[in-house]
């Protein structure tokens, strides 16, 4: 049987525009999300949340709810006090982590703070029962709703156990910033605010918890990006042995970072399932999602930039106020430190000082959201570089090109100590300038301005820190794992420790595996998101899925191929070293015999003709620990026109030239850029959580909180350069967040450019028509 030949697979998959294998089930409603899971005897939980931003809880009466038919149990903070606190992974020496119970006990810190959980026979009864619970609040008048005011001496302390509202401080500097500023020809200053954003995944959070009393095993189905990390944390919170806990992330309908967290409701559902010995389902509603799912951003940045008159940037000073909210979530204090690391953008200056202050407020917690710290940093540097160009009377393209490191300067050590891996920043930018027809545009703009039209062009040349990351830089390990198991029939299962939730990794990993093994993609299944099926892993966030998870898959595939070559050599009676493998066929110059991949797979299981001392089966598990992050980059350009009368912004053209290293699937990279640009366009033009001075969230529905829709999107003219990442064998960098990082500053710079004839130097986001109109009015009058 060793002589069977299979037609070689000439086709290669990596680099092809292949449609996502996940999509048919996702768009035909046959995928299983948490809310699709039904368990026998399942009960439904609902959570009562505080209507006040700051209040003492005087008493809670649950009697009315308990009397309602169908209500099984009601839990207050006291009832669940044995559950450990919601974790925060920050570790800076100055960090204050207030005790964060899964339900409020004596105090609430923000509107939406969970106070009571009701469990009932169905979700309707549970919802009705919430209305029967009486919580006697003593509302506090001086709500801390403004991070800047929160730092004033007479501000009320959000957490009375501390003597001020500082959650932590973080300082970093480099070079000689005082000298840089003293010797500068020009210094410009800006205050740049990045308001809070609601992550708004299509699928809200949800948990099903089921306890097997006999096996003493708790199973948690959660809409999460990090099933393995969640399992460890839940084991600690619930005081359960980790090997008696199984976490399953079924289909996850979008996360954008908001599900890279450990949420109170996850432990709550687990606790209740153990207590009641019945399965529990909790599904978050949209109002809760907008209200309490950790908001992204929440930055107030004061920045100063120093330069020589030829446009050479020499130094930067930055102070970041990070609005923490009432409590930390998992990564809350870590995210803004990424803004500090990325403050130099793509520029060569070496002197800087940065102070980051985390501030407690009576608002919902903040945490990671697509880009997580890097969009904020990019916005600041790209805005102030434009401001500097304006001040120097320099072309904003020229000042950028002047300050990029050259392609021969990589690895490039940045002011903040990062090592940018590879790139040609000028090349990507020049392609974008060429494509937009910059010189022609400038002529057109002159003409338009003569007619009183407000036409503008905005650049963003962004760098991005991703492929998270080396373990020392991450709180819970930065490596990733993969197991490749070949079945007896030659079908292959790839188990990845990442937890893709919309990235399309089932497709990309199948492409990688199909090429490595010379088999059709249909012969591969990618398994993820179940701690009982998959070896320990870290998860999907920080644009790490392909660069770290994909590399682990690649390494496991190489090992499988290596083993298979040994078996094939034995079957063909030649040395393993003389075996070649191509297109799914093993051959050797030393023999006419060939064996197929499927032949070897079968033999590995039958074990009739294997080398001595070979273990049965054909499988490998490998881990990949990166030595550095990866640094994608690119140039985005927005051409806009402002309606002078109404303040409306029209996007005339949008160009994106991105470099995310080697591309596995161009179609999916396009998709990532498109989605990313949408999530930069939102905050640029319309999005932003609005609180009043009492900490009430004022735009808490999709009738009021605008996320961009198809009709708001410009046509995206997309191109790529491809600079392989030196840090992993696939040469990939990451693209999940690039569009979000690159787009927002381009829109803002474009609008400022459009308004510059009026003397406008900056505009706050979101650039709503009202805000633009106000600026035009102000400037026209002055």
């Amino acid at each position: 049987m060793a002589t069977t030949t299979t037609k070689p697979q000439a086709k290669t998959y990596v680099g092809q525009r292949i449609r996502r294998q996940e999509d048919p089930r996702l768009i035909t409603g046959t995928a299983t999300y948490v809310d699709d899971i039904q368990r026998p005897g399942m009960l439904y939980a609902a959570v009562l949340r505080s209507p006040y931003a700051a209040a003492n809880i005087k008493s809670i009466s649950t009697a009315g709810a308990m009397e309602m038919p169908g209500v099984k149990a009601v839990y207050t903070g006291k009832d669940v006090s044995s559950v450990g606190p919601v974790p925060c992974a920050g570790s800076m020496p100055t960090l204050r982590v207030p005790h964060h119970t899964i339900l409020a006990t004596d105090r609430v810190y923000y509107v939406g703070h969970p106070v009571v959980a009701v469990v009932a026979s169905d979700r309707y009864v549970a919802q009705d029962a919430l209305e029967s619970i009486e919580v006697d609040y003593d509302p506090l008048d001086d709500v801390v709703a403004d991070p800047e005011k929160a730092l004033e001496k007479d501000s009320r302390k959000v957490h009375p156990e501390y003597d001020d509202n500082v959650a932590f401080t973080f300082h970093l500097d480099g070079g000689d910033v005082e000298k840089a500023f003293a010797e500068a020809d020009t210094v410009v200053k800006l205050r740049v605010a990045a308001p809070r954003l609601a992550p708004s995944p299509i699928e809200t959070r949800g948990v099903v918890a089921e306890y097997d009393e006999g096996a003493k095993e708790l199973t948690i189905y959660s809409s999460t990006q990090i099933p393995h990390l969640l399992r460890t944390q839940l084991a600690l919170q619930l005081n359960l042995p980790e090997h008696h806990l199984r976490v399953i992330a079924p289909e996850v309908g979008g996360g954008f970072g908001s599900k890279c967290n450990v949420w109170a409701e996850e432990a709550l559902a687990g606790y209740i399932a153990i207590q009641l010995k019945q399965p529990i389902k909790w599904i978050e509603n949209r109002r809760e999602s907008i209200l309490v799912v950790a908001h992204g951003r929440g930055h107030l940045d004061d920045v100063e930039l120093a330069a020589k008159k030829d446009g050479t940037l020499t130094g930067l000073k930055l102070r970041i106020l990070q609005d923490i909210g009432g409590h930390h979530q998992l990564l809350t204090p870590i995210i803004p430190t990424l803004s500090v690391l990325m403050l130099p953008g793509l520029y060569k200056f070496k002197s800087f000082t940065a102070d980051l202050i985390g501030v407690f407020t009576n608002l919902a917690p903040t945490d990671l959201y697509r880009g997580a710290g890097r969009p904020e940093a990019t916005y600041v540097i790209e805005r102030i570089v434009d401001r500097m160009a304006d001040e120097l009377g320099m072309d904003p393209a020229e000042i950028r090109l002047k300050n990029f490191p050259g392609p021969d300067e990589f690895p490039f050590e940045t002011a903040t100590g990062l090592s940018y891996d590879s790139g040609d920043y000028a090349k990507a930018f020049n392609i974008a300038l060429e494509k937009v027809g910059y010189q022609d545009f400038l002529k057109k703009q002159q003409e338009a301005r003569k007619q009183g039209r407000l036409l503008g062009i905005g650049f963003c040349t962004y760098g991005e820190l991703c492929a998270f990351g080396p373990s020392p830089a991450l709180p819970a390990g930065g490596w990733e794992s993969a197991t490749v198991t070949v079945e007896a029939t030659g079908k292959v299962a790839v188990m990845t420790g990442t937890s893709p939730h919309g990235q399309g990794a089932e497709t990309t990993f199948s492409q990688i595996a199909a090429d490595a093994l010379g088999i059709p993609m249909d012969d591969i299944v990618v398994v993820h998101g179940d701690t009982a099926k998959v070896q320990h892993g870290i998860g999907t966030f920080g644009s790490r899925n392909t660069a770290i998870g994909g590399t682990a898959v690649h390494l496991a595939l190489q090992e499988v191929v290596g083993k298979a070559k040994t078996y094939a050599g034995h079957m063909m009676e030649v040395d393993a070293a003389d075996v070649a493998f191509e297109g799914g066929v093993f051959s050797s110059a030393k023999t006419d015999k060939t064996v197929s991949f499927q032949d070897v797979a079968l033999e590995a299981h039958l074990c009739k003709n294997l080398p001595p001392d070979t273990e049965p089966g054909l499988s490998a598990t490998r881990f990949f620990e990166p030595a550095n992050f990866a640094f994608p980059f690119g140039a985005h350009i927005a051409v806009v026109e402002v309606d002078r009368e109404t303040g409306e912004i029209q996007i005339l053209r949008y160009l994106a030239v991105d470099d995310c290293g080697k591309v596995i699937n161009p179609l999916m990279v396009d998709g990532q850029i498109h989605g990313g640009v949408a999530q930069g366009l939102g905050p640029a033009l319309m999005e932003g959580v609005i609180y009043d001075e009492d900490g009430q969230l004022l735009n808490g529905t999709f009738m009021d909180y605008p996320i961009p829709k198809a009709q708001h999107m410009p046509w995206i003219e997309s191109e790529r350069t491809e600079t392989p990442a030196p840090g992993n064998p696939l040469g990939v960098k990451g693209v999940g967040e690039a569009g979000t990082i690159g787009s927002l500053p381009a829109f803002v710079n474009g609008v400022v450019d459009a308004l510059s004839p009026l003397g406008v130097q900056h505009i706050d986001i979101p650039m709503t028509p009202q805000k633009v109109w106000n600026l035009i009015q102000e400037r026209s009058q002055s």
């Binding site: 949209r286 109404t646 609005i690 999709f702 996320i707």
Partner: protein
């Protein structure tokens, strides 16, 4: 996002519906549900009984008689948008329907439901004011008809009694030589106009022979901008006239202020959008 419990009836005739409304004092009519369902889900409204008019066939029609076009209350925005009859004989209403919300809203929402809800930012009322539309109402005591201006009393408040149902909207067949336009600036989340201006202009011998203007979103209720009409009629149909008249768009009304627009900006937008609508309508009238 789960409503409080309610009883539900789906009558098949109008008289059955009216009977249900009379017999159940805490009842509410369900038309397309685009405003009511969200209120129910937030529990901001909790009627004991819903009477769904979706199954009453007599309320679905678009027909012409005696120089008027009669539109059944349960006609969807989409049907109005796509109606050949309206496109030809009352294009303003068809254009207005096309700018409502999004596809899903237009497929479900109905003209009767919109009018009866009287949302101050709804699109239809601008056109209906400009068209001097009539609202036909059925109740236990029989039928009555009100002009749209009398029908809409205040924000979310109409002349409709709890036991009554809007059955029909009547708009005139547009005369030859009349140009129409509807212009809005939209709140990106809800799709509701921050300001909407509907204009009908007749031009003969270079003069404006006829002008009707309806505004929505500006104030607590939609209104006919009669000051604008007066400033237009009899004047030359030139840019200057239209610009001067449109400055009166929010004359005498208290412009609303909310997260999207201050009252000052709203008044300003009312003038700008109206001028643009007038220019377009005048252009089409020629």
């Amino acid at each position: 996002m789960i409503p409080a419990s309610f009883d539900y009836s789906a009558p098949e005739t109008l008289s059955e519906a009216l009977k249900l409304l009379s017999e159940n004092p805490d009842s509410k009519v369900l038309a397309g549900g685009q405003s009511l369902i969200p209120l129910l889900k937030f529990r901001l409204a909790a009627p004991a009984h819903l009477v769904d008019l979706g199954g009453v066939p007599d309320l679905h029609f678009i027909a012409e008689s005696d120089g008027m076009i009669r539109i059944g209350a349960m006609t969807t925005h989409h049907q109005i948008e796509e109606s050949d009859l309206l496109a030809e004989k009352c294009p303003l209403l068809a254009q207005t329907a096309a700018s409502i919300g999004d596809v899903q809203v237009r497929n479900c929402g109905t003209i009767g439901g919109s009018v009866a809800h009287a949302d101050p930012a709804a699109d239809y009322p601008a056109a209906l004011q400009a068209l001097e539309a009539k609202v036909k109402i059925a109740g236990p005591g029989g039928e009555r008809e009100l002009g749209i201006d009398e029908f809409i009393v205040d924000a979310l408040t109409t002349a409709l009694e709890a036991s009554e149902v809007v059955t029909e909207i009547q708009v005139p067949v547009e005369a030859d030589g009349v140009g129409v336009s509807y212009r809005t600036i939209i709140q990106p989340a809800s799709g509701f106009p921050i300001v909407g201006a509907a204009a009908r202009i007749g031009v003969s011998d270079g003069k404006i022979s006829f002008a009707r203007v309806g505004m929505t979103g500006v104030a607590a209720k939609s209104y006919r901008a009669t000051a604008v009409e007066a400033a237009l009629e009899g004047k030359a149909a030139d840019a200057e006239t239209l610009a001067v008249a449109s400055r009166l768009a929010a004359e005498g009304v208290e412009a609303l202020s909310d997260l999207n627009a201050s009252s000052e900006y709203r008044s300003h937008l009312a003038s700008v959008q109206l001028r643009r609508a007038l220019e377009e309508a005048a252009e089409r009238a020629r």
